[in-house]
């Protein structure tokens, strides 16, 4: 499939080869890869230069002092404790849920597909706000319910009994959003693990538990390790939970400190940069550990064929297990949605629910009276759609050329596109502020800076989906296209692309949802001239107009649900046709 031909080929072919080389898959791929490298290396280089360069405003003694003044040790301590505790919880629950769904009779088909998608359906900040609306100590709806239940037993409480603004609340909600990062690799490892291995263990007289311990767990150890490292990386990078719940509980974590340093007055961008680099180093170390310890090709497992496994019969425990699975779906998706829905219908957030005052005034406000909220909705949806489409196209091209190129090019593309995974979103944002806010590169306050940031941030995610889509197209199918006289470009258009379409569409949905709900980078890069949902929600939260927040968050969630449902229906129809 090489584009290189020799001198003996007639000259017409030679011309074709020359133009082919320029516009070839590889040519375009190299350009795109270079652009990605530039968008990562340039901002981070500038950051390093700003901190350690000769013009650095940071003087070493002053720096340490300044960091200590910002309670750096406490912040680090908080961060480590919260990440460790929530990570451990997520590991336990993620693995348990995956095993229950894939290998026991508690698993109920579609539930397993929906489960990891639940947290995706709402913009993360919307979900977190939903939980606050349920569990805030005084006005939280669940607390109101629990109190009235207690009152009916004659117990008088005025606040609580649950309080989300504590370290326990912070850890619990963090764990909730980290669980899918364990569930996904573990369940796909279980899916692709040949069930006959476990069946052979059962035939060798081992019971279900021994089989799980001696056969299943060792076999999926790479996936567990991948999940663990992913959880730690995400734990250090997640912004919405610490900024909403952590700030309320007066527990500051590293990403929030970086954000505050940029946003507070007087701004300490130099300190933010320094901490950003620290966070990057931390995550890079984890990423390095992952590539060393865990096998590189998790995506191949996701593409693996689903086989029917002999399921463990749980007996009476089956219903308990099913309730556990269901309760994750409820807690991750349904409950915060209900919280948002209730508050969005009230004139102001109050524990005393008066049916007569419920109405849609807040929706009217955000759609017609508040230009910022309306603009943010439009901007986010457009950015999600454009960014998702561009991202998947780029990723499809890169994965395809990685597949057909030699192992060297392949590895280079993999490395370049995986790199942003090791740069926390808040750091990308700080780097972009530094790079694109002045001079001829000034695109600050435009949709372009957001689009570029989103593309860089979500490129690893796009590549994961695209490489699965590419791998799903059998090698012989593309070889057959070449044999039957299709030039590489035509083979890509007429065979690769249509066959990859379902996989690309699934990847597009994930990109759309994440980009449209992005908060971490947007909080720093979006302004009143380019508002997006995540940033507007955060701003409104800090100003305390809760019913409007709820209305906006719910609207964004409904848009997400509609888009996800529509695209998955399309994917299922396409797949149904071909199999």
């Amino acid at each position: 499939m090489s584009d290189v031909a020799g001198a003996a080929v007639p000259s017409r072919d030679l011309c074709r080869d020359l133009s082919g080389a320029l516009f070839s898959l590889r040519g375009i791929s190299v350009l795109i890869a270079a652009a990605i490298v530039l968008l990562i290396v340039y901002p981070i280089g500038l950051m390093i230069w700003a901190v350690f360069g000769p013009d650095s405003a940071v003087h070493k003694e002053g720096l340490i002092e300044a960091l200590v003044r910002e309670n750096i040790w406490l912040v680090l301590q908080n961060t480590v404790i919260v990440v460790a505790a929530s990570g451990a919880l997520a590991m336990t629950f993620g693995t348990l849920l995956a095993w229950l769904n894939e290998r026991t009779d508690a698993g109920a088909g579609r539930m397993g597909e929906i489960l990891p998608l639940m947290p995706l359906l709402m913009p993360q900040i919307a979900g977190v706000i939903g939980w606050v609306m349920l569990l805030a100590p005084r006005a939280g709806l669940l607390n109101v319910g629990l109190r009235s239940l207690a009152n009916s037993f004659g117990i008088e409480i005025t606040s609580g009994p649950l309080d989300i603004y504590t370290i326990y609340g912070l850890i619990a909600i963090m764990a909730l959003y980290l669980t899918p990062y364990v569930y996904l690799p573990v369940s796909s490892a279980l899916k692709s693990l040949d069930p006959s291995l476990e069946e052979a263990s059962r035939m060798a007289k081992a019971n279900a538990f021994t089989t799980f311990r001696r056969v299943t767990l060792p076999a999926i150890r790479p996936a567990l390790l991948a999940g663990l490292l992913l959880v730690m990386m995400m734990g250090f990078a997640i912004f919405s939970v610490p900024v909403i719940i952590g700030s309320g509980a007066k527990i500051e974590m590293l990403p929030v400190l970086i954000y505050r340093l940029v946003y507070a007055y007087p701004a300490r961008v130099d300190l933010a940069i320094l901490l950003g680099l620290l966070l990057t180093v931390l995550v890079q170390v984890l990423l390095l550990l992952q590539t060393v310890l865990a096998p590189a090709n998790l995506s191949a497992q996701i593409g693996g064929k689903a086989q029917r496994a002999a399921r463990v019969h749980l007996g009476v425990w089956r219903w308990l297990a099913r309730i556990l699975l269901l309760s994750f779906i409820v807690t991750a998706g349904v409950l915060p949605l209900l919280g948002l829905a209730f508050v969005s219908l009230q004139p102001f957030w109050t524990p005393n629910i008066n049916v007569n005052t419920l109405g849609f005034d807040n929706y009217r406000t955000i759609f017609f009276n508040s230009s910022l909220a309306g603009k943010a909705l439009v901007n986010s949806v457009v950015l999600g759609a454009v960014g998702g489409t561009l991202g998947m196209l780029i990723a499809a091209l890169l994965s395809r050329s990685a597949q057909v190129s030699g192992s060297g090019v392949n590895r280079l593309i993999q490395a370049v596109t995986a790199a942003p995974a090791g740069v926390p979103h808040v750091v990308v944002a700080v780097g972009f502020i530094l790079s694109f806010s002045s001079g001829w590169l000034n695109i600050s306050g435009t949709w372009l800076i957001l689009l570029l940031a989103y593309l860089v941030i979500f490129m690893p995610q796009a590549m994961r989906s695209a490489s699965v889509a590419v791998a799903q197209v059998g090698k012989e199918l593309t070889e057959a296209a070449a044999i039957f006289k299709a030039a590489p470009g035509r083979a890509f258009r007429s065979v690769m692309l249509p066959l990859m379409l379902p996989g690309l569409a699934a990847g597009w949905v994930i990109l759309f949802v994440q980009m449209a709900g992005e908060l971490t980078a947007s909080a720093l890069l979006a302004k009143t001239s380019n508002p997006v949902i995540g940033q507007v929600l955060l701003d409104l939260w800090q100003n305390g107009s809760f019913p409007e927040i709820a209305a906006l968050a719910l609207t964004a969630t409904i848009i997400n649900i509609l888009v996800v449902t529509a695209v998955f229906a399309f994917v299922r129809r396409k797949r149904g046709l071909q199999t």
């Binding site: 001198a7 070889e479 071909q578």
Partner: protein, 394 residues
């Protein structure tokens, strides 16, 4: 290639080959082809200096066990694999040359191929699949439908034109993929174990249809298989491959009757090997002393005192009610397996050293001999092949 074979091929020249091409002795010429793979366990030589030529309209079968390099050779000819050294010439045009830096991509080699996994595109209908090569070759739109339907009729699949591949059985899918391969009227069609994915009954049927189609359209064929009966049924010539080398290339009869090595004999179904030493060489016959007695074989090229292996096919050992006058072997039937057309017997022949010499005998005799009974068999010297044991490379 011998000149006698050339004239044979001329009668089967494809209709569409331009006049003047006919005097070429070979249509595809592969020379000095070498291909290395690097695996985790080091380098593997998949093709080791392979040279081979295929005449126009000729049917060449590459036969060998998995890993012998036959598929790699086919894929190199197709252009799907890039060799490390050597040269490939198709129809007078060099499509690969390591020394001249030529690598023509598959779409410009003028070949078509039938894949092991059918490789029908699941998002196209049967019609669209078969039309694809014509569209790529810029055949006028008006001609496409007629040619596609004609090709589909040839494989009895015209009624499935509007279906998707997933709605067809494995055998039907392979028929469609055959139609796709013939529709472009390429001079050469490559087959990569095309029948190994369909079940036994369909396989035999497809095999004979394929042979008929080849006779009718007279395209050159390079056919990869590990199944010797498939090779015998479809080939003009067979190249038996082993560890990246051509162990022997020759007509079907040559390979079958005069295998060049024990390996080739074994791979084409000669199951019985009797070791011995030549005691006497006369004009018409050589006498061999073996552990199961004195046997007489053809004397060609043998000298007294030589250690040899006698190779004989199961169907060339014959039962005898009484002690046969020539090459008598006495044995006891250990296992009788009725296989429909014939019965396969495993004999344990008498051995002076008390060691078992096992022999497999195939007989079409209707009466089944009992397991455990003592029998006489005779070895037909005309069909016995001998190899000097120094030649045995293991």
């Amino acid at each position: 290639m011998r000149s006698g074979q050339d004239s044979y091929h001329h009668t089967y020249m494809p209709m569409h080959v331009a006049a003047g091409d006919g005097d070429k002795s070979s249509h595809i010429r592969v020379s000095g082809l070498t291909k290395r793979y690097s695996t985790s366990r080091g380098q593997v030589l998949a093709l080791d200096d392979v040279s081979i030529s295929i005449g126009a309209g000729e049917k060449l079968v590459l036969l060998g066990p998995s890993g012998c390099g036959k598929t790699t050779l086919l894929r190199c000819i197709a252009g799907l694999e890039s060799p490390d050294a050597g040269e490939i010439e198709i129809d007078g045009k060099i499509v690969y040359s390591s020394s001249r830096g030529i690598h023509v991509p598959p779409e410009r080699r003028g070949l078509s191929m039938v894949f092991q996994s059918y490789a029908l595109w699941p998002h196209m209908t049967v019609f669209q699949n078969v039309a694809y090569p014509l569209i790529n070759a810029r055949v006028p739109k008006a001609d496409i439908e007629g040619r596609v339907m004609a090709a589909l009729r040839m494989v009895n699949c015209d009624i499935y034109a509007d279906r998707y591949p997933s709605q067809l059985s494995g055998g039907q899918q392979q028929r469609v993929s055959l139609a796709r391969a013939i529709v472009g009227r390429d001079e050469t069609i490559l087959f990569d174990e095309p029948l190994s994915n369909v079940d036994a009954l369909v396989r035999e049927q497809l095999r004979s249809e394929l042979a008929a189609l080849q006779k009718k359209l007279a395209f050159s064929t390079v056919y990869v298989t590990h199944d010797q009966s498939e090779a015998l049924a479809l080939a003009d010539r067979i190249a038996v491959m082993r560890s990246g080398k051509v162990a022997q290339i020759g007509s079907v009869r040559e390979i079958y009757e005069r295998p060049a090595s024990l390996y080739v004999a074994g791979f084409t179904g000669a199951a019985n090997v009797i070791e011995g030493r030549i005691t006497k060489v006369e004009k018409d016959v050589a006498t061999v002393e073996t552990s199961i007695g004195l046997l007489q074989v053809r004397p060609d090229g043998l000298t007294a005192g030589q250690a040899i292996s006698i190779v004989i096919r199961p169907e060339h050992l014959q039962f005898s009610k009484v002690r046969p006058p020539v090459n008598p072997i006495q044995g006891r039937i250990e296992l009788a397996t009725f296989l429909g057309v014939y019965t396969e017997y495993t004999l344990s022949a008498k051995d002076q050293l008390g060691k078992d010499q096992r022999l497999v005998v195939r007989s079409t005799r209707p009466d089944l001999l009992d397991e455990g009974s003592d029998v006489w068999v005779t070895l037909d010297a005309r069909h016995a092949v001998t190899f000097a044991r120094d030649d045995v490379h293991e």
